[in-house]
């Protein structure tokens, strides 16, 4: 999509036409001068006329080269572009050349004098209004100057015998009347042409403005569309994963129940199988709860959920109290270190509780008995910095990349604990990001993991 105004492009095009037309004028003038010399040798200063034609050819060649080098991008939508300067130069040169040609070929007696009207029209089409008037005024001055100087004898008058016996250029009334009428005509032409031109330009500009608005709007819509498409693709991917994660335990439950019902296996086996079924139903139930929480967190991100000022340490203590028994049953040392300067954060306490619960329960789950789980919260300038460290199995660098994706479970986590939803950390990230925070992991396989958490603090 180009940004230039059609009118500006047109102006450049018209300047191109003018250069072409001028070559034609140079050719016709040269032929006319040559013909006149053969028809009436000695009647006119042919050498001077040829010089003028040569001068026109020369500056036209220059203009042609310059116009070709003119980059279209430099032409802005204001009337101060290079195209206008080029148009001005051309018109001024043309008016001077026209005056010289007419002066050397009969002055006011030469009907070619009407070309002043043509030049004025061209000037007013091409140029902004004031400049158009200036060019009309220049044409009037050159015309009046030439006629006046020829009349007064300041410059010689070159009479063309073909145009009649009487030297009209020396007739005061004729010169005054004719030149006066011509100047009035130039003024009127200038006024009319520039009025029409200005109105067209105005309309053009309004149209262009509308055009730009439409383009901007359509771009905006395209972006929205793109975003919606991405959301839709993400939703489809998510649904694919969810259906698989739900189907797997249900298929297993189905097979187990069929076995139990068939009476095919011995009772002790059946008992074991039914225990497994029970665990799997709990897993499915857990998965559904996690999915609902995740859906709610996604929804909250869209809705700008109202938040309250929450003391993160209080929430953490509540979670630790619940988790302590589990940690002790695994013979884990659980330490909590809270910065006394800790400020409150803007959060939903239930969601924050979920974040701590998920991070802590993971640390407990994936740390071998005898290990350490250490939780700390420190106060930064603008952020609360939370950390959950463990001496657990650790996470490989590769698995760390996908750790916060829904349903992803690290390979060694699956080995240690085959059943798990893989939703917990995705939920943590979603909640933390909803609160304007950030969560990340540092870990080394066999040594342990550290999950860090930044949440924006309230200003005290």
């Amino acid at each position: 999509m180009t940004s230039e105004l059609p009118f500006e492009t047109e102006r450049v095009e018209r300047i191109g036409w003018l250069i072409q037309l001028r070559w034609l004028a140079v050719l016709i003038s040269a032929v006319a001068v040559a013909a006149a010399r053969i028809a009436a040798p000695g009647a006119l200063p042919f050498r001077a006329l040829l010089y003028v034609v040569g001068f026109v050819a020369l500056y036209n060649a220059g203009l042609s080269l310059y116009a070709r080098s003119l980059p279209v991008e430099t032409i802005g939508d204001r009337d101060t572009g290079s195209a206008i300067k080029l148009a001005c130069v051309q018109i001024v040169l043309d008016l001077i050349a026209l005056t010289a040609l007419i002066h050397f070929s009969g002055g006011v007696e030469n009907p070619m004098i009407l070309f002043f009207v043509l030049h004025t029209t061209v000037a007013n089409v091409l140029l902004p209004r004031q400049l158009g008037f200036v060019m009309a005024a220049l044409a009037a001055v050159l015309l009046a100057g030439m006629a006046g100087m020829e009349y007064s004898g300041l410059v010689p008058h070159h009479h063309v015998p073909l145009l009649g016996e009487i030297e009209l250029a020396r007739e005061g009334w004729y010169v005054t009347g004719f030149v006066g009428m011509l100047i009035v005509t130039l003024g009127l032409v200038s006024y009319l042409t520039s009025s029409i031109s200005a109105r067209l330009r105005e309309r053009d500009r309004a149209l262009m403005k509308r055009h730009r608005e439409v383009i901007a709007k359509s771009r905006e819509l395209e972006e929205v569309n793109e975003r919606l498409r991405a959301i839709d693709a993400e939703r489809t991917r998510f649904l694919t994963l969810v259906t698989h994660e739900l189907r797997a335990p249900i298929n297993t439950i189905h097979t187990c129940i069929e076995l139990a019902l068939s009476g095919h296996a011995p009772p002790d086996k059946v008992h074991d199988i039914l225990e497994r079924v029970m665990r799997r139903t709990e897993e499915v139930s857990q998965l559904i709860s996690d999915l609902l929480r995740l859906a709610r967190a996604r929804e909250e991100a869209r809705r700008d959920e109202p938040l309250a000022a929450v003391h993160p340490a209080e929430v953490l203590r509540g979670v630790v109290d619940l988790m302590r028994a589990e940690a002790e049953s695994k013979d884990l040392f659980l330490s909590v270190d809270v910065d006394p300067e800790l400020r409150r954060v803007r959060a939903n306490p239930e969601r924050l509780k979920l974040v701590w619960t998920n991070l802590l329960s993971n640390a407990i789950k994936y740390t071998e008995p005898g290990g350490i789980v250490a939780v700390s919260i420190k106060q930064g300038n603008e952020y609360m910095v939370g950390a959950v460290r463990d001496t657990g199995i650790g996470i490989s660098a590769e698995d760390q990349q996908s750790l916060f994706q829904e349903f992803f479970r690290a390979g060694n986590a699956r080995d240690l604990c085959p059943i798990g939803t893989g939703v917990g950390l995705a939920l943590v990230r979603r909640i933390v990001e909803n609160l304007g925070g950030k969560v990340w992991v540092e870990s080394e396989v066999g040594l342990g993991s550290k999950f860090s958490l930044l949440l924006p603090s309230e200003k005290e």
Binding site: L239, T240, T243, H244, R247, A248, P249, I250, N251, T252, H254, T255, C256, E258, L259, S262, H264, A265, P266, K269, V270, D272, I273, R276, V277, R279, R280, G411, R414, D415, P418, I419
Partner: protein, 135 residues
């Protein structure tokens, strides 16, 4: 006691493996389980089974396809019948299935497969009585 042939179940779901083991052992098969494709292959190379029940979607979406091709490319193992036992057909992962080459499997069972069907296939491919293990 004479047993039927040895069956290897490769599936990342430990409960499903346990159920398969119970089903097949009750019908006198000798059953081993592997939770990953690579582990299953290693177990096959250690002791060649008579039949493999193979899941497809494990850690990778088409891990089972890779395992079946490894088996087909191994001169020692290529005669072991492989049965895909997977929910990939009814899952959205179907598109991951290769279409440019034949599947290296004797049969294809959609999860959850009827027990009778599982036993029928197991008996067809590994039902012949073998000498009981010495241990």
């Amino acid at each position: 006691m004479t047993t039927k042939g040895e069956v290897l179940v490769i599936d990342d779901d430990p409960d499903f493996c346990a159920a398969m083991q119970a089903i097949l052992e009750a019908d006198d098969f000798c059953v081993r389980c592997a939770s990953q494709g690579a582990i299953g292959l290693r177990m096959m190379r250690e002791k060649k089974p008579d039949l493999v029940f193979l899941d497809v979607i494990m850690r990778m979406p088409t891990e089972g396809v890779w395992v079946s091709e490894e088996i087909a490319n191994d001169p020692e193992l290529r005669d072991v019948p492989v049965i895909f036992l997977t929910s990939i057909v009814s899952s959205e992962y179907t598109g991951h299935f290769p279409t440019d080459r034949p599947l290296q499997a004797r049969a294809f069972l959609d999860k959850p497969a009827p027990m009778a069907k599982i036993l029928d296939l197991a008996n067809r491919f590994a039902g012949a009585p073998t000498t009981p293990p010495t241990s």
